[in-house]
């Protein structure tokens, strides 16, 4: 499959190489790590929204589930970080399975129900009654496994795998089937596609991506509160980055992160609350007026965006 190979060599490889070399050239390690986190989350949104049309306003729920899955495995089972990472991914997958009935809803109903689900998980995790399990609202400290350099490398590997998954979806039969489902579920069934299975697979893949990212985030920062890993701005950012660049493409979410997260870090850090507002409004504008993002503007000018 030459296009798969071409896009792996021309997009994935340079991206990973740049982010692997960046810490040697640029001092703000946390910022670079966050870039990896948002690149991965934006591609996760791409998988579920770009390929199936479900816009998960509670996407951060999987990120938080992953972070807490990781933390609980380290705290209670004394698991090694890589094992705990798998536990985080599993926690997000389980949450994904639990939430599959939401896929019966469509449009805004799905988005809102998913947001409610993420808030419910936050309430459970931060409940003081569960202090012995989750440390409740008092937060987690995992100083024993603190290893930002290694966590950075693992995060990069997760990004690489996720980006490869999107490249594969872009060029595979299965990715085409998902797009067909997004366009018209009834017609997709008449093309012989198992619509329910396709949606569930995409949903769980997106959940796994966010769960693993949340796990590695927990590992990297090691000290965090429930609001840190269940914060609504994480969802808003991931969605706006993906939509701005253009979903159902490989490059769109990457462009979105580079441009919008770049702007945010250049001028937004001092007043982050305005950015949540601006980016929230930007999501509405994009969904209404430019649902396929920058990529569609470029396409109109005859520039093909892979």
């Amino acid at each position: 499959m030459p296009r798969l190979l071409r896009h792996t060599l021309l997009i994935l490889l340079p991206l990973v190489a740049a982010l692997a070399l960046a810490p040697a050239l640029y001092g703000n390690h946390l910022l670079l790590f966050n870039v990896i986190v948002f690149l991965t989350l934006a591609q996760g949104i791409n998988i579920i929204y770009g390929f199936t049309g479900y816009l998960p306003f509670g996407y951060v729920g999987f990120f938080g589930a992953g972070a807490y899955g990781f933390a609980l495995a380290v705290m209670h089972l004394h698991a090694l970080p890589l094992v705990a990472l798998a536990a985080g991914g599993l926690a997000a997958l389980l949450l994904g399975v639990l939430l599959t009935p939401l896929l019966r809803l469509s449009g805004a109903y799905f988005s809102i129900a998913n947001l409610a689900a993420a808030l419910a998980v936050l309430q459970i995790v931060s409940n003081p009654a569960l202090e012995s399990v989750t440390k409740g609202p008092y937060g987690i400290s995992l100083s024993g496994v603190f290893d930002p350099a290694l966590a950075y490398g693992v995060a990069l590997a997760i990004l690489a795998a996720t980006t490869f998954l999107v490249i594969w979806l872009r060029h595979s039969r299965f990715g085409m089937a998902l797009q067909a489902i997004r366009e018209d579920a009834i017609s997709a069934a008449m093309a012989g596609i198992d619509v329910v299975r396709g949606r569930v697979v995409a949903w769980l893949l997106a959940a796994l991506v966010a769960g693993l990212t949340g796990s590695v985030y927990a590992w990297y920062i090691s000290v965090f509160y429930p609001e840190t890993v269940f914060g609504g701005e994480i969802t808003i950012f991931a969605i706006v980055f993906a939509l701005f660049g253009g979903t159902a493409t490989i490059l769109g979410p990457i462009l979105g992160v580079v441009i919008l997260y770049g702007i945010y870090n250049a001028i937004g850090i001092s007043a982050p609350q305005y950015f949540q507002l601006i980016y929230g409004l930007l999501i509405m504008g994009l969904v209404l007026f430019l649902p396929n993002g920058l990529a569609s503007l470029l396409r109109r000018r005859g520039i093909d965006v892979p």
Binding site: R173, M176, A177, Q179, A180, E183, D184, I186, S187, A188, A189, M190, A191, G192, I193, D194, V195, V196
Partner: protein
């Protein structure tokens, strides 16, 4: 020796929407290679009949048998794999995919028993070859209907349900579609054709069913249907509503 059982038999089919019976005990059968017309006034249940047979709705009563097995309530994609497909009264292509991709999806997932189709040839027979690389959204309505048909044919159906394919076509296009439908039947496919254009139905079908209010009120050849008192009544009654 008993005769071959029909490919499709619909027996006392009921479909309710709330308290309203859109299908109210409909029965008919269909053989391979046969073209059966399904006519009736607006709202008589023709599309609902196709929707139930193609798995969009589960029946609320009665049964549907296809190739010897009960299929009522199976999900659409399973029915497609068994050899049933359809077109839509309002065409439903994958708008942002190209014409070729629309057909390629069905080719990839339809489990055509004759193996992968030659998409170019299929598109050419339906006059869609020149627009193969266009997005389906750019096609006109008649072309989108043909694309529905192309997608259905790519799955290699044994039973094809066609819902008002000819509506809105000019006379030359009508002749062309008539030829295409007859050709599909000649390859052994059983066809159920829903259409309001009586001349068109009369030309292509072997037999027609006339429906009214979810029930069948006539079965036979078109020439007899237009002589039938109840049929005439239903259509005249339907006309002053329209």
């Amino acid at each position: 020796m008993s005769p071959e059982p029909p490919l499709l038999s619909v027996d006392g089919l009921v479909k309710r929407f709330g308290g309203f019976r859109a299908l109210d005990g409909l029965s008919f059968h269909l053989n391979p290679g046969e073209i059966l017309g399904l006519v009736g006034p607006n709202g008589s249940g023709k599309t609902t009949c196709i929707n139930v047979i193609s798995g969009l709705y589960a029946p609320d009563g009665g049964g549907v048998r296809f190739a010897g097995r009960a299929i009522g309530g199976l999900p659409s994609h399973r029915l497609v794999h068994l050899g049933i497909n359809r077109t839509f009264q309002v065409p439903k292509p994958f708008l942002s995919l190209t014409v070729r991709e629309n057909v390629a999806v069905a080719d990839g997932y339809g489990r055509n028993p004759r193996g992968p189709v030659d998409i170019d040839t299929l598109l050419a027979t339906l006059d869609l070859r020149p627009v193969a690389e266009r997005r389906a959204a750019e096609l006109n309505s008649a072309q989108q209907k043909m694309l529905d048909l192309a997608r259905a044919l790519a799955t290699g159906p044994r039973l094809l349900l066609i819902d008002e394919l000819a509506a809105g076509l000019n006379p030359a296009e009508l002749d062309r579609v008539a030829v295409q439908i007859k050709e599909i039947a000649r390859s052994g496919v059983a066809l159920l054709v829903v259409e309001h254009l009586m001349g068109f139905i009369g030309e292509i079908t072997d037999r027609v069913i006339v429906m009214n209010a979810g029930k069948e009120i006539f079965e036979g050849v078109m020439a007899d249907a237009i002589q039938d008192k109840r049929v005439v009544e239903v259509f005249l009654g339907g006309e002053d509503e329209g």
